[in-house]
Symmetry: C2
Subunit: 337 residues, 2 copies
């Protein structure tokens, strides 16, 4: 047990001060008070409420220790922006707790913060506060994201209704298969993809593309939404159960990238990974039938794919169909009947 | 490198769902939406702004792995409440990221959450959201605290002025000496204390007593404040430098508990630990001379000790005097001149 002594704390904190003043303060927005105070100070824009979410990423669990530091930063920012997007909220700012192993040198940390700044700036998402500490273990990062929505307009998980269309943005399964490519002995179907396709999948695992441009349309039209982070199948269940509904989802209608479609055509079992694997950071949403076309047109205008994949029912079952049959998923694995 | 597979994630998340629904949801306030959504939704009370801070605690750095789980929870809540108190903010709610090693069983986690609930309830500080994940390393906890202040009334770190009184609540150094008691070979002066005194010091290390009752008086009268978390000496410097001021602090006037005073009387060098050791979670504040008596009376009314320890100067030096001489601190260690 190595609790640091007072002197060690003081020495560490001195370099923490430099880290904050020299590298992190340039990322700060007005609510961060230049990172020179103990807290952030903010108020929602007039007529708005605050939406807040926290996501922690840990080395060895959510990313690989040897992933590029800027990629880890982009993922950290992206997964949290994705939560705001799914709630129909616009980014206001974030707070960051960094638990840094001694082995990470200044070069690594600088590259991480540069990546953080780039990802945050692209999303108009300033740093407003944080904490930095040592860890005798893996790098651990916790980001608290703050967004704003017009009062009463947050898109809930609990408000889908029977008859609503179930739809999803983008493509599903890219990140899950990208992860397989990083593990030992990737499936032959993935190794058979061309280099560009493999690069695409890996990029999708490392770099979420949060759909913040879609937030305004979502809050105008969607009845319920969440982001797809733990696998489409499980997240469909979560959303529909939270809404006290059921649903029928047609897995043949789930949008797949060319890379995933090519791999699944060789090894059909890979569809299981695609729809349960997680890390998609797309938006799963429900929308009343009469509003679906309007929402689709908004998506087209934003150059964003939106696909209908099912229908909300009175429930309670959530069913997944595939090639004319039912597909059953238990603990992320599935059995054909 | 052991990135978990899709199936493992799904299995872990199922128990995470139970953890949230059965153990954490009872701690949730209205802004937490029953922890059934992806985000918290809140607005400041009318006429107020939000004050936000994050503090991470890591096993082996901020607490011992074998500390009682309820103590770790109280410390986590306490250090964050202390930041709100020092800013003159009243607690509104908190978000919690828990990074849990596999070795922690349900019994440990339940005891931790019970302690969390008790500490939070005492402070009217509901849980409003969070994240739970595995870590292949030490327990790591990150808490984001949200408080409210009347607009424009947050007590800054940057607004002390020359001539202001420097004062501190409570007593200083208890936690630092309590930590020494938990390390191998505590100093003889500490082992010579009676059991009650040793118990007091250990309790002060494990269980911060955040001064939230003082927040209203602080925002009415203090010119600047921060909580004492990294050692009084370093924190005095931080506050005064952030205010572009200097100061003279008389270490003979720093309030010491009977236990610390007894230990220092045996081994005077222990004063160094007392004033640099950190984990005090008292409030260091500056207040115009003419308001000091009013603030003192407020403290008396709240049964809280408040001691004048120095004076703000135009700067830039921050000097510490002791027994008629100057005492110099370098990187947490000090030399007599």
């Amino acid at each position: 047990m190595a609790v640091v002594t007072a002197q060690e704390v003081t020495e560490r904190r001195l370099s923490e001060d430099q880290l904050i003043a020299d590298w992190l303060a340039p990322l700060a927005g007005p609510a961060g008070l230049g990172l020179r105070d103990d807290a952030a100070l903010l108020a929602p824009p007039a007529g708005c409420e605050l939406v807040m979410t926290v996501d922690a990423l840990v080395s060895g669990i959510h990313f690989f220790a040897d992933d590029p530091p800027a990629s880890i930063a982009r993922k950290l920012v992206g997964v949290n922006l994705s939560d705001l997007a799914a709630k129909g909220a616009d980014p206001l700012g974030f707070m960051l707790a960094m638990m840094l192993p001694d082995g990470l040198g200044n070069g690594w940390i600088k590259a991480f913060i540069d990546g953080l700044g780039e990802a945050a700036q692209q999303a108009a998402f300033p740093l407003i506060g944080g904490d930095t500490t040592r860890i005798e273990g893996p790098l651990a990062l916790s980001l608290t994201a703050i967004g704003s929505v017009p009062a009463g307009k947050m898109v809930r998980r609990t408000t889908a209704g029977p008859g609503d269309v179930i739809a999803v943005t983008g493509t599903i399964g890219d990140a899950a298969l990208g992860l397989l490519l990083q593990l030992p002995d990737p499936p032959a179907a993935l190794m058979g993809l061309d280099a560009e396709q493999r690069g695409f999948l890996l990029d999708r695992f490392r770099h979420p593309r949060p759909r913040n441009s879609f937030a305004q349309a979502l809050r105008a039209h969607a009845s319920a939404a969440m982001d797809v982070s733990d696998g489409l199948v499980g997240d469909c269940r979560k959303l529909l159960r939270a809404s006290d509904c059921g649903g029928v989802v047609c897995l043949d209608d789930v949008p797949l990238s060319d890379a995933v479609a090519a791999a699944v055509s060789v090894t059909p079992e890979l569809l299981r990974h695609a729809v349960t694997g997680g890390d998609d950071y797309e938006i799963l949403l429900c929308v009343p039938e009469q509003a679906f076309n309007t929402l689709s047109e908004e998506a087209v205008r934003l150059d964003l794919a939106l696909h209908r994949i099912g229908t909300v029912t009175a429930g309670p079952e959530v069913m997944f169909t595939h090639q004319g049959g039912d597909m059953s998923f238990v603990h992320g694995s599935f059995q054909h009947f």
